[in-house]
């Protein structure tokens, strides 16, 4: 800031030609979360009803080694913070404001042997669009669309960032469907996210993630 700028009370202008590094993160992460942050979940409910939930969010402070960003368009976005112990915290935002928080645990991962088997799962398997499905000993209802007919999977791309500062590391396409079930013992819902992930020419996987809605009082971010 020059003397003249100081005399005229001008604020220092940002460097116009300062280009972001290739693959650098171009947006802010919500809730002060970041790669390298530590997250602790409130696990009191598991003590109250030990077997009520299909999966338990991990205990202790979980590190965040990887961050995934999904741009859903129209200002909607999903931010996924992958944790040390096979779980992730998902924050949905609208125009940068937090709209919802969910915690998920990877419950099961399948690897289709061929691309055709992967495509068949996406288009034909009842877990990818039926209004109700049975999984892990429970009955789950589709969350995204009302009605009893089958609906096509939601498709979105996720960009993965690692390192500090965050650098684009990978990307994958999701074909996903979200289900829920009531947990009367705890008066809350459990979520089931079925996602067929295409991350390369011959890299396919199908993941079943179980989780629940959280609020800011359920998580302690350091």
């Amino acid at each position: 800031m020059g003397l003249l700028d100081k005399l005229l009370g001008r604020a220092p202008a940002p460097a116009a030609n300062a280009l972001a590094a290739p693959g650098a993160l171009q947006h802010a992460m919500p809730l002060g979360l970041r790669i390298g942050a530590r997250i602790q979940f409130d696990r009191t409910l598991y003590g109250v009803a030990p077997d009520a939930m299909t999966e338990e969010l991990p205990a202790g402070y979980q590190g965040v080694p990887c961050y995934g960003h999904v741009d859903l368009g129209d200002g909607y976005a999903l931010h996924r913070f992958y944790l040390d112990d096979e779980a992730f915290l998902q924050v949905s935002t609208v125009g940068g404001d937090v709209d919802g928080i969910q915690g998920f645990v990877f419950h099961e991962t399948l690897n289709p042997p061929t691309k055709a088997a992967f495509q068949s799962f996406v288009t034909d398997n009842e877990h990818m669009g039926a209004s109700e499905i049975d999984y892990a000993g429970h009955r789950w209802s589709r969350l995204t669309s009302a009605g009893s007919e089958r609906v096509p999977a939601m498709v979105y791309d996720e960009v993965l960032y690692r390192h500090q500062p965050p650098r684009r590391d990978d990307d994958l396409t999701h074909y996903a469907m979200l289900y829920r079930r009531e947990v009367p013992e705890l008066s809350r819902q459990e979520l089931l996210l079925v996602s067929a992930e295409d991350s390369g020419p011959n890299e396919f996987s199908i993941t079943y993630s179980v989780g629940m809605d959280l609020n800011s009082a359920d998580i302690d971010i350091t």
């Binding site: 009370g9 409130d42 409910l45 003590g47 109250v48 008066s187 009082a217 359920d218």
Partner: protein
């Protein structure tokens, strides 16, 4: 008071007056800049207000989450007590106590920020009103200054030794004076000519009836319209005609 002290005082006085003169001369420009600075400060205050409002919203969201957590814990405690699990009830009650403490602290934060937001809003509204009034007054001052500048220009144009109208009036006066002098000279020349020149001779000839007086022309015409004898008989008594007759006889025209 020593001489040096007086000189210093004089110097300070002169410097102060000079500075004051510069400030007075640029008063409106300085006022404009101060107004711009105040407007910028006001915009910054509004930004600060929106930041506080955003923080208040975040605190309120945290409060809502804590309230939800409190309700959840209360349910857990009641459920544990109903099952006779005193240890679990106590464990959750400890957490509930923490949540309630956080809830109270968050409520205090929100109330404090509500108070700050209220004060900031009042201050901003007051500043906006003052600025609007100041702008209005500056506009009035500017308009008055423009009018006075115009009046000053008009006054300077139409008064004083250098006034163009004054100059024009002087010129007119000089022309009139010159014309009067010239008229006087013409009169004098005519008088001189009357006294010494052919003009005077003609006048004297006319007086002696030896040259035609233009006033006689009508008489001539009248005379010539009638038969010459009759005229002569009828007008025998006229002195003029007698003169004419004398002239005719003199010059031998009438035979």
């Amino acid at each position: 008071m020593s001489i040096l002290s007086k000189i210093l005082t004089l110097f300070r006085g002169t410097a102060n007056e000079a500075g004051q003169a510069v400030v007075d001369k640029n008063a409106i420009r300085i006022l404009d800049q101060e107004l711009r600075d105040s407007t910028t400060e006001l915009a910054r205050s509004k930004e600060e207000l929106t930041k506080v409002m955003a923080q208040r919203q975040l605190a309120a969201n945290r409060g809502t989450a804590l309230l939800s957590k409190r309700k959840e814990y209360e349910g857990y405690v009641q459920g544990a007590l109903a099952k006779g699990d005193e240890a679990l009830a106590r464990e959750v009650a400890v957490k509930l106590s923490d949540v309630e403490r956080d809830l109270q602290a968050e409520a205090g934060n929100v109330q404090q920020m509500d108070s700050s937001i209220g004060s900031l809003k009042t201050a901003i509204r007051s500043t906006e009103t003052q600025l609007a009034r100041l702008k209005q007054q500056i506009n009035t001052v500017k308009a008055t200054e423009a009018v006075q500048r115009a009046q000053s220009a008009v006054a300077a144009r139409h008064s004083g030794a250098n006034s163009k109208i004054g100059t024009a009036l002087d010129s007119l006066e000089r022309i009139k004076q010159r014309q009067e002098e010239q008229g006087a000279r013409f009169d004098a020349a005519q008088q001189l000519e009357h006294e010494t020149g052919d003009g005077d001779l003609q006048a004297r000839l006319a007086g002696a009836g030896l040259v035609n007086d233009p006033s006689n022309v009508d008489g001539i015409l009248e005379r010539l319209r009638a038969p010459q004898q009759a005229v002569l008989v009828d007008d025998s008594q006229s002195a003029e005609k007698q003169k004419l007759l004398a002239a005719e006889s003199l010059f031998g025209e009438r035979k």
